[in-house]
């Protein structure tokens, strides 16, 4: 069964540095999402992406965050000037259309030191 893959599984970065989290959605999917889960808390929506542009973003997704689909297969989340509070599990998800369930990757654990 096709799946969403995320790399790396764990990323450790110094505060203030930039980090890029990578995702390869399921190949025929058109809708892409990033979610965040701080340890012990609920999963929170960050951003949705369709047709090469952001469809919706939450208040968490401030101007330090950006997303890109550079080559038609990868979907990346970049965080500039990282803060301690960015430490969390980041999940990428994709769906074939807006009516289909979202399939999640295994997540990237981001640790900011």
């Amino acid at each position: 069964e096709p799946e969403v893959t995320q790399t790396p599984s764990h990323q450790v970065t110094q505060m203030g540095q930039e980090v890029i989290l990578r995702c390869v959605p399921i190949s025929n999917h058109l809708y892409f999402y990033w979610y965040r889960q701080i340890l012990g808390q609920k999963v929170e929506f960050l951003v949705s992406f369709y047709n090469n542009e952001i469809s919706e973003k939450s208040e968490i997704f401030d101007d330090r965050f950006s997303v890109e689909r550079p080559d038609g297969s990868n979907f990346t989340l970049k965080i500039r000037s990282t803060k301690l509070e960015d430490s969390a599990m980041y999940f990428c998800a994709s769906s074939g259309d807006g009516y289909q369930p979202q399939h999640f990757g295994d997540g990237t654990r981001l640790s900011i030191l």
Binding site: K42, V43, S95, D97, G98, Y99, P101, Q102
Partner: protein, 116 residues
């Protein structure tokens, strides 16, 4: 905006028994989808079951079934014949829009333990 509430932080069930996990939600939309996702210790997010709000029939998926009470905005998950592998965090989620803005709103989750 929609909200999802899971008021029980944890539950425990004996192996082979049945357990019900509760969830309530609130939305002003007439059309929406409800989901239960499972998150084992590996922290993957695995879709368990999905319910379309316009369908009156409760969704079932093998040992998993839901009790969808639309008027009460309640969406509980029943796990029958519980297995050790069912031990995980379970999240209830709501999706009120479709297309490009179809984000999921999650509850806080419930930790289910299964006693051998």
């Amino acid at each position: 905006a929609q909200t999802v509430t899971q008021s029980q932080p944890e539950m425990s069930v004996q192996e082979a028994e049945t357990v019900t996990l509760s969830c309530t939600y609130d939305t002003s939309e007439s059309d929406y989808y409800l989901f239960w996702y499972k998150q084992p210790p590996s922290r993957q997010m695995i879709l368990v079951i999905r319910q379309e709000a316009y369908k009156q029939q409760n969704a079932t998926e093998n040992r998993f079934s839901v009790n969808f009470q639309k008027a009460a905005k309640s969406f509980s998950l029943k796990i029958s014949d519980s297995q050790l592998g069912d031990a995980a965090m379970y999240f209830c989620a709501c999706q009120t829009a479709t297309g490009a803005n179809s984000k999921l709103t999650f509850g806080k989750g419930i930790t289910l333990s299964v006693r051998p």
